[in-house]
């Protein structure tokens, strides 16, 4: 219950200057701006009704226009000059917003960067003491080739088609594709261009550091209607039941793999190793990963892949004898 009062007071301290500043605001709009229900705002206003200058004489209290609220659904308050400014940002809020802005600055194109710099300067100066805290948090986003980043950013802003040369690492090949850019996303510390790809005839994510060239075409982007930004909150790689389910045993030295790749399950093996089960969209990817682990990982299932890895290694070894 006490948590409720604290949250309500926090909201009220923002609500008063918010309403004071704006004249009349529709109840639904207030609720949406504050991220609570209209009912909650009505309850907040009923509390405000009893708040005001010490002594609480009739003229000292904040006036809430209940007629306007009940009649027209519009919120209007008066006689609240003593609460004309909201509370300053606390360390938690300032930090979250400043680090968010800095992240945006690091990934935005030249178009956004200028606005972010200006906004950042203003928010930082409003943050006061909390600003000192902002250097205690650092989000580093991988670099990308500057000319590629600029071309992608231009394609997005001018809504034009892009021609990109893209490295498909799992297949060790560079492909040329025409794509209609949808947005630039940053996830798991890397930048991706989400776009409609005419080569794959589908929506794809392209890691920016694997685009070696990007050219803005004259043609305007005209992605099909089904091309919509995907919800990436559950991760970039979204396993499906149709994909190959592989089992790989990891030596203790290769345990780090668990931290890097999404998997279905993991169990301990005697001796400190792990047995990992994971969905794989392209077996070539897993083959490459196991080769890279140089004997610290073994494919258990599918068996054909285990044989393939062994034969490939034996053939590669022959070049050294």
């Amino acid at each position: 219950m006490s948590q409720g009062a604290k949250a309500q007071v926090e909201r009220l301290l923002a609500l008063v200057p918010y309403l004071r500043d704006r004249g009349g605001v529709r109840l639904e709009e207030v609720a949406s701006d504050f991220g609570v229900t209209a009912r909650q705002i009505t309850q907040d206003l009923q509390v405000l009704w009893f708040c005001g200058l010490p002594g609480a004489m009739p003229g000292d209290l904040i006036e809430v226009d209940m007629d306007a609220l009940e009649g027209d659904g519009v919120v209007h308050i008066d006689n609240a000059d003593f609460l004309d400014r909201p509370l300053r940002l606390d360390a938690h809020e300032a930090l979250a917003l400043i680090v968010g802005l800095r992240t945006l600055r690091d990934v935005g194109g030249p178009g956004e960067r200028d606005a972010v710099e200006r906004a950042l300067a203003k928010v930082e100066s409003a943050a006061g003491d909390a600003l000192a805290m902002a250097d205690q948090v650092d989000v580093q986003i991988d670099r990308a080739d500057e000319t590629v980043a600029v071309a992608v950013s231009r394609g997005l802003q001018e809504q034009r088609r892009l021609r990109i040369r893209y490295l498909v690492l799992a297949r060790d090949e560079t492909t040329e594709r025409d794509v209609d850019p949808l947005r630039l996303v940053v996830a798991e510390g890397r930048r991706y261009l989400e776009a409609w790809c005419y080569r794959a005839d589908g929506q794809r994510l392209f890691r920016l550091d694997r685009i070696s060239e990007a050219e803005v075409l004259d043609q305007p982007a005209s992605p099909p209607e089904e091309a919509q930004p995907r919800d990436l909150s559950s991760g970039l790689f979204q396993p499906t039941a149709e994909q190959l389910l592989a089992t790989v045993d990891l030596d203790p030295d290769a345990r780090w793999v668990v931290d890097y790749y999404p998997h279905e399950s993991v169990e301990d093996l005697p001796g400190g190793g792990l047995r990992l089960r994971l969905r794989v969209s392209d077996p070539a990817w897993l083959r490459r990963l196991v080769l890279r682990l140089g004997g610290h990982a073994r494919v258990v299932d599918p068996v054909e892949l285990a044989v393939e890895v062994r034969d490939e290694a034996a053939a590669a070894l022959a070049a050294y004898s």
Binding site: V16, L89, D90, H92, A94, L95, L104, Q136, L291
Partner: protein
Amino acid sequence: MTARKSERLMNLVICLLVARTYVTKERIREVVDGYRDQTDDAFEKMFERDKDELRDLSIPIEVGHVEKAFGDEPGYRIRRDLFALPEIRLEPDEAAVVGLAARVWQDASLAEATSGALRKLRAGGVTVDTRALAVVEPHVDTQDAAFDPLWQAVVTRTPVRFPYRRPGAEPAERHLEPWGVLSWHGHWYVIGHDRDRDGVRMFRLSRVDGPVAKDGRPGGFVVPEDADIRKLAANLQPAAEKAEATLRIRQGAGVVLRRRALAVVTGDDGWDTVTLRYAGVWSMAEQVCSFGTDVVVQEPTDLRDTVVTMLRALAEGGAE
């Protein structure tokens, strides 16, 4: 009841905010509704709790002295300049990026913190649109359970302890003064003074193997002035590429290696000779192995030997 308590807290804030000087407890009890009808004991307890709750909201309640005929008496006030959000005006494009920045955090508690910041900015007269369609959408994930408590510990400078699992070892309890948190390649790390080892150490959050507990009071340590999180984090970045390797790469293959080549000599046997620089023997050998028969190391010897050892292990793998 929540409503009664909210009223009392609001009236207490207003009372202390409009006062020109420190207000005594006695006066507060007189003018703030809800205190008057309490017994002395109940009032004392209530007032202490109320002050704590307001301070939790980062409301700066100052304690001072009020001169009275029979000696000084403690009094309280809130300084408006420390309480109020400074004047802030954002241009439309600035407000738009602030709205975008609010969507960066995927973590519930940080998303709530940014929403809180936005509520205050709006109340301060700024119009922020958080629903605008964006062409740039950075997401920062914080899926590690240890993230929230460690972030809090960094903000409040509270020493912590937690079980930590190093690869291939049993979890061990670590004691840390957390100076900062950082994200690299999408993974979170906490950096600070390791009390067990008496030195600066970095811990990966995904390897924190249990609850993060407070190991002291808030403000229990000082971050050294010269502690630069970014610089300390630079230890995480790949080391400088110093060594040089000569590789034979099958034509049309090894695309990612060719992209960082210093020189490529095209052969007429279907193979090219590529020279490139690399940082560590192990990571370079791993990369060479990943290409199987398409890449062969010519020089240097240590890289060549490492690759041979790895390929031998791979070729024998599963033979048992």
